[in-house]
Amino acid sequence: MNKFSAALNVHIEQVREWGQREVRPAGLEADRNGAPLPPDHPYFAGYVDFRRRHPGPVDDGAVPEGPAVRMAAINEENAYWDRGMGVAAPGPGLPAPIVAAAGTPEQREHFLGPFRGSEIPRWGSFALTEPSGGSDTTAFRTRATRTDRGFLLNGAKCFIGNAARADWVLVQANLDPDKGRSGQRSFFVERGNRGMTGIKVENKMGLRAYESVSFILEDCEVPRDNILGGERPEQTSRSSAYGATMGTLNTTRVGVAASAVGLARSAYDEALNFAKQSGAFRSIRVRDRLEAMHRQLRAAWLMTLRAAWKADSRIPNIVDASMAKVFAAETAQDLASAGMEIVGLEAGAGHHLVEKLFRDAKALNIVEGTGQIQRIIMARHLVGLPR
């Protein structure tokens, strides 16, 4: 079941080869340093080169799998080698589809254009979360006010990926607080804007390979052209289609689920490898633990693939996507923890990969909607839980 096409496997094989040779050592280096690799680290130039040579299966007509399944397959393999380096990868990142869907033609050209075919590493960034609220977007306090020349942003953001090295950060702020959540708009804050201050790279338990940044917006001035979609965005057919799709199909959570599966698979392989080399595999207890790990891993991957396949098949997948997200994230955590136990004192010494995975894994049940939020989403659909 669920075997990939030969064409997709070619791409996966490229990611694997690159991951083993470059991504994992770079991720370990960043973890040892306790800080992300600097933007001018040769890894990033190498990454840009790799992606130019191997653009991946996203636009490859030869791959029969749909886009969500392709994305899941690539994410899983990437995260197997290092989840943190995956987030640190140069590119417009998370906001890319948002800008592509909701940006004006000029914005798409101005903000996404430089990434196309760029030979040097560039980053984009998306700033949503605030210290006062993670899941509850109604609690967000960042405000935008109109000025003669554009907008003034005031507020604070935290846990923002790659924000300190990005060419621009797409910042969510409320332009019309009276309207509540629907007053929220997005603004491009370009690098060097002096209103973006107090930039601090957070000291995290794990996933130290990418910057999680907090910053303050203090009368941060952005030009009028920097509001996403323009002052009065047209309901373009493209953006409304995007919105309609988002109502019943979700691929973002599936992508995170796939990454969690990759991390979990890595922990499983480390534990099994250690058990076999140390002879612990002969212990019934160790084998039973590995069996439970393998089973949970398999279930997580099947859930993820089914959620992706449904998205590609235009079958509503909201429950599937949330289920895959929370289950895969818990799987990553459980398997890394069980892996610590199997590897034992070698893991305690802090040099073994499984110890890093143990610190990395926890984040996956927090980002992109915590386990609690995913359950709320599922409960809305399964029992009509009121908001």
Partner: protein, 353 residues
């Protein structure tokens, strides 16, 4: 991606689903008290033509494979797992005979699978595996079955088939009463016997998936029934399903059932495709069914509160049925052993590629 279901799958699902809802579910407690579904229900089911759904065509079946069987089993067990067993006169015993290539010899012994009153039963016999002609003897405390005409014994080393020399004795039974409940004593000379651990393992894999799929149905119903109840039942001013902690429990039960279903279908496909991982995957799915039973079974009752403890509702039966099904096929620990034994080969295996 093989998540899609074909048109014939849909037709089978619809037909079986309607039969289960119309003929089985309403008579749940009646079957339980009578310890049988009765001949007329059995005949109506046979008339649907899905009796030998997954048995190879050369053996007289429809040859649709185990995947079709697990989906059918799930639907029947959502109505009544005991009835599902009662309606399958081949029980999983036929998998043993098929694995050892025994359908032809059976015919040569004058047994025709098409004979509608010929019933098979299966017991676990750790000593099975000698060649034909050597007497076998033993006692099994319980199988969820009424007296059968052919008794099949399976152990890790091999299997045997008895046509005589065994006796069924009725017992109370903990659950699955529609199928009957018997202790079996055997002491006779097999008409067929084989020594072949590999084939024994393959037969056991199908048997485990067979029972796991019944558990899947039972848990699917327990989760679904208790969810519906929680939407109807009002406490403290709203449906109890809208109290967040209970909503999360319902979600987690749903996830446990979904997880189990994916593992069962995955293992069934691996068996149908003859993949090397099939034996391990089937054992793992059976273990998962038992673990899911521990969680979903009692919580199905819990959500109904005092009503759940009463026989007026099906959730107490579900709790007993899933627990009892998990005792079959050699039980949990031997499955865990077999699932673990296959792992040495899994390192750096790309999990889904």
């Amino acid at each position: 991606m093989d998540f899609a279901r074909g048109e014939s799958d849909e037709i089978i699902a619809e037909t079986i689903g309607r039969f289960a809802a119309d003929e089985l579910r309403p008579r749940l407690r009646e079957f339980e008290a009578a310890r049988t579904v009765g001949e007329s229900v059995r005949e109506r089911f046979a008339a649907l033509g899905f009796e030998a759904l997954d048995i190879a065509e050369e053996a007289g079946g429809a040859g649709l494979g185990l995947l079709a069987r697990v989906r059918t089993n799930r639907l029947l067990a959502e109505a009544d797992a005991g009835a599902a067993l009662a309606l399958d006169r081949f029980a999983p015993a036929i998998y043993v005979i098929e694995a050892f290539g025994g359908v032809e010899p059976l015919k040569s012994l004058g047994m025709n699978l098409g004979q509608s009153d010929l019933r098979f039963a299966l017991v676990t016999d750790p000593g099975a595996g000698d060649v034909a002609g050597v007497r076998v003897a033993g006692h099994v405390a319980w199988i969820p079955a009424a007296p059968a005409d052919v008794l099949v014994g399976l152990g890790p080393q091999g299997a045997w088939v008895l046509k005589d020399g065994f006796a069924f004795e009725p017992v109370r039974g903990a659950a699955l009463h529609a199928a009957g409940a018997s202790a079996v004593r055997f002491d006779g000379t097999p008409i067929l016997a084989w020594h072949d651990p590999m084939r024994a393992a393959r037969a056991l894999a199908r048997i485990r998936i067979y029972y796991a799929s019944l558990i899947w149905g039972v848990l699917s119903d327990a989760a679904g029934f208790s969810r519906s109840y929680a939407l109807d039942r009002v406490a403290f001013g709203k449906p109890i399903a809208h109290h967040q902690a209970l909503a999360f429990l319902i979600v987690d039960m749903y996830v446990a059932v979904a997880r189990l279903g994916l593992l069962i279908e995955d293992a069934a496909m691996a068996i149908d495709a003859g993949e090397g991982r099939a034996v391990g995957a089937a054992a793992a799915a059976f273990v998962d069914a038992i673990e899911a039973s521990r969680f979903v079974g009692p919580n199905g009752v819990q959500i109904l509160g005092g009503h759940g403890f009463m026989r007026d509702f099906p959730v107490e039966k579900a709790m007993r049925d899933c627990r009892a099904l998990g005792l079959l096929a050699g039980g949990c620990d031997s499955a865990r052993e077999d699932a673990g034994a296959g792992l040495a080969a899994t390192i750096s295996e790309r999990i889904a590629a």
